[in-house]
């Protein structure tokens, strides 16, 4: 690789293919493993719709439980800020939408750059704050594993390199863009085999719990699930 353009072409070509292969195959393997473990058939008569219960739980659990904000304000506030900042900078930046469109054929309108820029800063500051919190909280620090720090790093790097690339912090730009894409590839490779999988399994878990509760729930009764 003689120059930054060669590097960029490598990360956009062969490296992306490798990362995408591991990402897609990894997710399919893990999801399939979970599904194939199976559950015992519930022989009781269903009182209510499983599907409705599942959807309700998926939505409900995105909202913090009453009282939790008082108990763990940092986790709730920073957790929300981080996820929102990340979603905005990942999903609403036009060059990212172009990538998603090229992969899936689906596209949507993006945001002006200033908003995306601000969202990325919010996401990065939140991540840093969470790392400091993790270090300083005795219990959190005790239960933290190497995987937790790895996950933090591979999540933080795409944001940081993307921020640098967007602001042309270093020259040449092709190198910065290449590093950004490479950091995303690292994220993709690590994703299926770490806690990052929660982005997918969270919905499976909520679906399962929600369906189970929905089945037991008497008709036409709103029960907090």
């Amino acid at each position: 690789m003689s120059n930054s353009m060669d590097f960029l072409l490598w990360v956009k070509g062969p490296a992306f293919e490798i990362a995408l292969f591991i990402f897609v195959a990894g997710i399919v393997i893990r999801v399939l493993e979970i599904l194939l473990l199976g559950r015992k058939t519930d022989l009781s008569e269903a009182r209510s719709s499983e599907i409705m219960g599942a959807i309700r739980t998926i939505l409900n659990r995105s909202i913090p439980e009453p009282g939790l904000l008082k108990k763990a304000p940092f986790t709730i506030v920073v957790g929300y800020l981080w996820h929102l900042g990340w979603f905005i900078s990942f999903l609403l930046f036009i060059p990212h939408i172009e990538v998603i469109k090229s992969l899936t054929g689906i596209s949507w309108p993006g945001l002006p750059n200033q908003f995306v820029d601000a969202a990325a800063v919010i996401a990065m500051v939140s991540l840093l704050a969470m790392l400091i919190y993790r270090f300083n909280h005795p219990v959190l620090r005790f239960i933290s594993t190497r995987e937790d720090y790895l996950v933090w790093l591979v999540t933080f790097l795409p944001l940081l390199s993307g921020y640098f690339a967007f602001h042309h912090t270093f020259e040449p730009y092709a190198l910065l863009l290449g590093l950004h894409i490479l950091s995303v590839e690292l994220f993709l490779v690590v994703f299926p085999f770490t806690k990052l999988m929660h982005a997918i399994t969270v919905f499976m878990a909520r679906w399962y719990n929600g369906a189970m509760l929905g089945r037991k729930q008497p008709d036409h009764t709103e029960v907090q699930s």
């Binding site: 060669d6 960029l8 072409l9 956009k12 292969f21 990402f23 399919v28 060059p95 002006p112 863009l177």
Partner: protein
Amino acid sequence: MFTQDSLGKILKNHGVSRRGFIKFCSTLTSMLALHPGMAAKVAESLEKVQRPSVIWLHFQECTGCTESLTRSHAPTIESLIFDYISLDYHETLFAAAGDAAEKAMHEAMQANKGKYLLVVEGSIPLDNPGYSTVAGHSNLEVLQKTAKDAAAVIAVGSCASFGGLPNADPNPTGAVSVSDIIKDKPVINISGCPPIPVVITGVLAHFLTFGVLPELDNLGRPKTFYANTIHDRCYRRPFYDKGLFAETFDDEGAKKGWCLYRLGCKGPTTYNACATVKWNDNTSWPVEAGHGCLGCSEPRFWDAGGFYKALSIPDSDVRNMAGYAAAAGLAAGAIAGYANNNKKQQMIKKHDAISVDDWDEES
């Protein structure tokens, strides 16, 4: 062939006024990003300087760089300056042919040993010397011989600078750039397909004025002209920042002059002066004409994933790759699932049933 008249005298004889000359020097000074006070120094130096001998070689190329230089600026003062360097050998512009041409080149090389500038247009094939020859001599041989006594080598165009089109995948001739071969001389890359004429004359003028070549970037290009990306200097940049993009070449966005990123503009990765210097005597440039930047002044721009694909999009057929990955994942997941279930069954089998009696025994 070799006149000893100074450039100032030659220009005067050709009816270029003092005012016109100073104006040119001021423009040049600002383009070279020198202090405005340097204009007088530039004028003084250029006026006194004798025409340096320039030998211009053509290798694997389309002569577009020469075309760009000779046509687009004629008859401005830049081309006059260029005419009045002593262009002692140029296969396209030369009236002489055959032995006479070769003789002229050798005379110029002898007379200006160690002082002449060598300009190279085109890439050099290394796979087989027969792919490109001039008068029976391979490009490699001609380059090595001519560069030996040159003061500096100027690689004009992306072929000479980085290999260009001949070097594009699969590079059938084994084409390489000038700097891949010449290691013991200063090599300056004036990339572009073709390069902006005033960039070529600007580099020559810098050499005439100061006797040294300008400061170069990491790809050997003069920083004066290649320090900024097209994207950073583009007049459409505000639309990029606002998130306003043309989706096709004839939609409302295109008509309103919105950003061409989604149509494949390579402006963000391309370092060149098109957005500020423009083309055809400052008339327009590709993005102003409604087409995205191709990135022609960057290495391997022919292989950079397609001119009409947005810069962020992966180059390869990722959809197919995702399909294979999903298939592989399904197969591996099914095997893993089967193994897990087996394990589960075995554990169930191994599990001894206990009863209240067992508990009694233990207690």
